[in-house]
């Protein structure tokens, strides 16, 4: 069984993000002995798994509205204004660390990003594009013309977001799983 520091589907629903595990000592030794050879035969192999869940509101005790996430499987249907949570699990099934891991996610044109919902492990740098993936910044800005004619930069609205990118500074060691997640609204 692979060693997963991520949590299962149940945990996914509450979106707990876990840190990337530190490197395995044995692998580090191997690399020290013969880096060139290892690189020819030992490769990292990152696998991505994407899952979606729909936010549902239920009336709980004392009549309070409770939010929960219902996994979407098969030919699921949604309605405009539904909020979906996408979770990407990334596992290194290879035998050496994956460096410079960057996970990218285009936002489908029929959906709108829910601001400040993209999450990842500590240390992951999350950046966004509002130009179809041409450029990424942490806080996208747009020019806004004020009433007096001056142009100022203001935070881009949710509708402008086109892509999300998670940039892992740390290496993803073999057998380790990381998760990132974000919420979208159906237009």
């Amino acid at each position: 069984m692979k060693r997963s520091l991520g949590l299962g589907l149940v945990a996914l629903a509450t979106l707990v993000i876990v840190p990337v595990a530190k490197g395995s000592p044995s692998l580090a030794q191997l690399q020290n002995i013969g880096t060139d050879i290892v690189q020819q035969v030992v490769r990292p192999e990152v696998k991505l798994e994407l899952k979606a869940a729909k936010q549902v509101q239920t009336l709980g005790a004392q009549g309070k509205t409770q939010l929960s996430w219902q996994p979407l499987e098969g030919e699921a249907t949604v309605q405009p204004l539904d909020v979906l949570r996408y979770t990407i699990s990334s596992a290194n099934a290879g035998e050496m660390a994956a460096k410079n891991l960057v996970i990218s996610q285009a936002i489908p044109p029929q959906m709108t990003y829910v601001l400040a919902t993209a999450r990842g492990n500590d240390g992951v740098e999350i950046t966004y594009s509002i130009d179809g993936g041409e450029s990424f910044v942490a806080e996208p800005q747009v020019e806004v013309v004020q009433e007096d004619g001056t142009v100022t930069l203001e935070p881009a609205p949710a509708e402008a977001y086109t892509d999300i990118r998670w940039d892992f500074a740390q290496s993803l060691e073999p057998q380790v799983v990381v998760q990132v997640a974000y919420d979208l609204t159906v237009n």
């Binding site: 798994e49 249907t77 309605q79 405009p80 979906l84 990334s90 996970i103 942490a138 747009v142 100022t152």
Partner: protein, 847 residues
């Protein structure tokens, strides 16, 4: 480019990449907002497909990974709104018994799939209406386009699929975001002022949440009957709406009018007559007598019966100090360069009293009822700046509709004019209120036209819902560039028009005979009484740039007037066109410009120009050649005015036909001479025909010159590349080909090239451009800029108003954000006086 100056909030970009990055962000950010988004959401049945990608490395080689694909399908969701879309009284004015009222409602499919909509008919809407009977229910508009033939909804109601034939799509399907407008016609039965009249279109009071005029609520909980509801029906059987069918309702209420509002309408008229002083060779002792008349019109309008005129508050000193006093005031100025002659003004009857003011009439924001003190005691004549006439409606009664009060008169001396003469402009104003108007709104008119209450050229009233119309009286200063051209209160345009007259010393010798514009034979041109002018415009067969060939149409008849200024008869007065160069040699005045030394736009007249002079039943036509001057078309004698008795004047007309290949947007000056034919030779020879006078008839085949130019700026928006910087300067023939990201700034310059009133002259007839519209359409050939460039802010128009369009869609008057879809710029200039120019500048970035 401005963005360079703005600090970037993204923390990890170096300074080097900052400007480029911001440009990309700005462009894409704006485009995103313009992507069409259905109000009702993503179309039903759409698959939303999502997949993640990753890149990683083993330290040497880069690898890619892709995830599984997650697909979700969008449900069919139904949505419906009904909103109040306005109200019209078929006969205008206020609501009265038996009026037909139109109540409009907009029905919109806010769901994400096709639907049909049920529309209740008159039978169901009748019991829900208040104050009237529902006589018709019609669909009058679909998706914003009025139907040529409205669709009649039967009295029993029906759904759009059963009314399909009348819909543009012939199916009655209302697509997602589609809408249609329903007009409910009511015949008013309520009789009392203040009674409500109301149409209830649909009802939501009989289903959850059981309140009226709800939007987009579930139809499934509606209780019978359903014939009074507006609700959706499935138009597409493949998917059932996840939220079921929907219903909505709206209503509109008005009230039977209270008592109509009488409105006093008054028209003030001003004319003037001049008389020479003792010294015939000086203009400084001439007199001008102004004559003012006014009437209270009997011109009832719907909702506004004709009212009586009473006084308004003026600051009046009758000997005991200035106090606010209610009076009707007829006010005018002692115009610049004149003084009151000290003779008591004439009043129509004893109820009118002359008043005077020494307050400045020409500076500041004061007007005759605000900041000006009037006194009944005549001040020293030289100090009087305004003369008025007051009427006490409280003591003598308000003036009812149909009243005419004529012949207020006073006289001024032209002592301030140069000895060589000049023009004097004046305007009259009348102030009062409508009798019994609880709001005490001002009733106000300026002289110079036949319109009441300063309305514009026959438009009454300026606002059909007039309730708080307050006139905006000017300072009382006349604008000589907005004249009542004929001096008889036939001016046009907004507000009033000035009475302008030319005063000149009696000229020596040949000016015993005067020849000039219509009713102003004594008009003075740039030089003297010989080169006065009447400017007219004509249209051309092919509109082109200035100087391009055209075949202008024949002018409308131009009226000129001749007058005998001496005490004896002038006999054998005749009229002829005369070659411009010969005229110049004779008068040293301005009569067009020699073709060979032309540095102005007043070009020599082209060969083949035909001039026709008419007086009574006489007609004589002439054709011009530079070599031979004017030659009669047929062997006809000149038009004969005959004998002019002392002071007599006569008017004649001239039409001008410029030939094919005439350069357009230039002025062509045709001198017409009136002369006493001493030797009865039928030709004009100055040496023998010593009594003569010229007037210029100048025709412009187009008189507004439009020039389009551009400059190309680098991607920073400031460095000018073409023409070579630093600029700002523009070129008609750019040579640099702009690259993507660079800017093209277009500038359209327009100018009224016709001659203006000469500084020392007066009485000439000018050409003012009215309703000039600059329409810069980048999507219509030969323009192509709409497709390859994108709007940037900082559009500038020096005159008039701006409107922005994306295709046919009006975006409004506010300069849209940079990157917005703008394909057309429209600059409307209501009035462009001679020689006045303006520019429209707009900026595009190359895609």
């Amino acid at each position: 480019m401005k963005s360079i100056e703005i600090p970037l909030h993204s923390h990890w970009y170096s300074n080097k990449v900052r400007p480029l990055l911001i440009t990309a962000i700005a462009a894409s950010g704006v485009f995103q907002f313009l992507a069409p988004v259905l109000a009702g959401g993503t179309t039903a049945g759409t698959d939303i497909i999502n997949r993640a990608t990753a890149t990683y490395s083993d330290g040497t080689t880069n690898f890619n990974a892709i995830s599984n694909t997650v697909t979700v399908k969008v449900d069919e969701v139904r949505g419906l709104t009904v909103t109040d879309a306005g109200f019209t009284d078929a006969n205008g004015g206020s609501i009265a018994t038996s009026d037909n009222l139109y109540f409009d409602f907009l029905v919109t499919n806010t769901g994400n799939a096709d639907a049909f909509v049920y529309i209740p008919g008159a039978t169901a809407l009748g019991p829900m209406a208040t104050g009237g009977n529902i006589t018709a229910v019609q669909i009058i508009e679909v998706n914003g386009t009025a139907l040529g033939a409205p669709i009649t909804v039967p009295a029993g109601g029906n759904s759009t699929n059963n009314l399909a034939a009348g819909f543009p799509n012939t199916t009655g399907v209302i697509p997602a975001d589609g809408n249609f407008k329903v007009r409910v016609t009511m015949a008013v039965t309520a009789t009392n002022a203040g009674d409500p009249v109301k149409v209830q279109f649909g009802t939501t009071a009989d289903n959850t949440p059981n309140t009226q005029d709800q939007q987009n609520i579930a139809f499934s909980t509606d209780t019978a009957p359903t014939t009074n509801d507006v609700y959706t029906l499935d138009a597409n059987g493949t998917l059932a709406p996840a939220n079921g069918e929907r219903e909505a309702a709206a209503s509109h209420q008005e009230f039977v009018a209270t008592a109509p509002r009488p409105l006093a309408q008054t028209t003030l008229l001003m004319t003037s007559t001049t008389a020479p002083g003792a010294n015939a060779n000086s203009a400084v002792d001439d007199t001008i007598t102004y004559d003012l008349d006014f009437r209270v019109n009997n011109n009832p309008q719907p909702g506004f019966p004709a009212g009586s005129l009473e006084g308004t508050t003026i600051n009046l000193d009758t000997g005991g100090g200035a106090t606010p006093t209610q009076r009707i005031l007829v006010s005018t100025t002692v115009p610049p360069n004149t003084v009151w002659n000290g003779t008591a003004p004439l009043v129509p009857n004893g109820n009118w009293i002359p008043v005077y003011s020494t307050d400045d009439a020409y500076t500041g924001a004061e007007n005759p009822i605000n900041g000006v003190t009037w006194t009944t005691t005549p001040p020293a004549p030289g100090t009087v700046k305004r003369i008025g006439f007051i009427y006490d409606a409280g003591a003598n009664g308000a003036l009812p509709p149909g009243t005419a009060v004529n012949d207020f008169r006073f006289t001024v001396v032209t002592s301030g004019l140069p000895a060589t003469g000049g023009s004097v402009a004046n305007i009259g104003q009348i102030f009062g209120e409508t009798l019994n108007d609880p709001a005490n709104n001002l009733v106000y008119d300026e002289s110079g036209d036949q319109d009441a209450n300063n309305y514009d050229d026959g438009v009454f009233p300026p606002n059909p819902n007039i309730s708080d119309f307050v006139a905006n009286p000017q300072t009382g200063a006349a604008n000589p560039n907005d004249p009542d051209t004929n001096g008889n209160n036939t001016g046009t345009g907004p507000n009033g028009e000035a009475n302008v007259i030319g005063i000149l010393p009696l000229p020596p010798a040949n000016s015993a005979l005067l020849n000039g514009p219509n009713n102003v034979p004594n008009a003075i041109g740039p030089t003297n009484v010989q080169d006065d002018f009447t400017n007219v415009a004509t249209t051309v067969d092919t509109v082109g740039v200035q100087g391009s060939a055209s075949n202008p149409t024949v002018t409308a008849p131009i009226t000129n007037t001749v007058r005998n200024t001496i005490a004896t008869n002038l006999d054998n007065v005749k009229l002829l066109p005369f070659a411009p160069d010969a005229t110049r040699a004779l008068t040293s005045g301005v009569h067009g410009v020699d073709r060979n030394s032309n540095t102005q736009l007043n070009d020599e007249i082209p060969d083949g120009t035909t001039v026709t002079i008419r007086f009574g039943a006489q007609t004589a036509a002439y054709t011009y050649t530079a070599a031979g001057g004017f030659a009669p078309v047929a062997a006809n004698p000149p038009v004969v005015i005959g004998t002019l008795t002392p002071g007599q004047q006569q008017s004649y007309t001239v039409t001008i036909d410029l030939p094919a290949n005439t350069p357009q947007i230039q002025g062509y000056t045709l001198p017409i001479v009136a002369f006493v034919d001493n030797d009865s030779s039928n030709s004009f020879v100055a040496a023998t025909d010593t009594v003569y006078n010229f007037t210029n008839n100048r025709v412009y085949p187009g008189f507004i010159n439009l020039v389009k130019a551009a400059r190309i700026l680098d991607t920073n928006g400031t460095t000018q590349l073409d023409p070579a910087g630093p600029g700002p300067s523009y070129t008609n023939t750019p040579t640099v080909r702009p690259r993507p990201g660079q800017f093209v700034e277009y500038r359209i310059t327009y100018q009224n090239i016709s001659e203006s009133q000469p500084a020392s002259g007066g009485g000439n007839v000018l050409l003012t451009g009215n309703g000039l519209v600059i329409n810069e359409d980048g999507a219509t050939a030969p323009n192509t800029w709409a497709g390859v460039t994108t709007h940037r802010q900082n559009t500038a128009a020096t005159l008039g108003t701006l409107q922005f369009y994306n295709g046919a869609v009006l975006l409004g008057p506010t300069d849209p954000a940079s990157g917005a879809a703008v394909t057309r710029y429209v600059n409307t200039i209501p009035s462009l006086a001679p020689q006045v120019s303006g520019t429209l500048t707009f900026r595009r970035i190359v895609n």
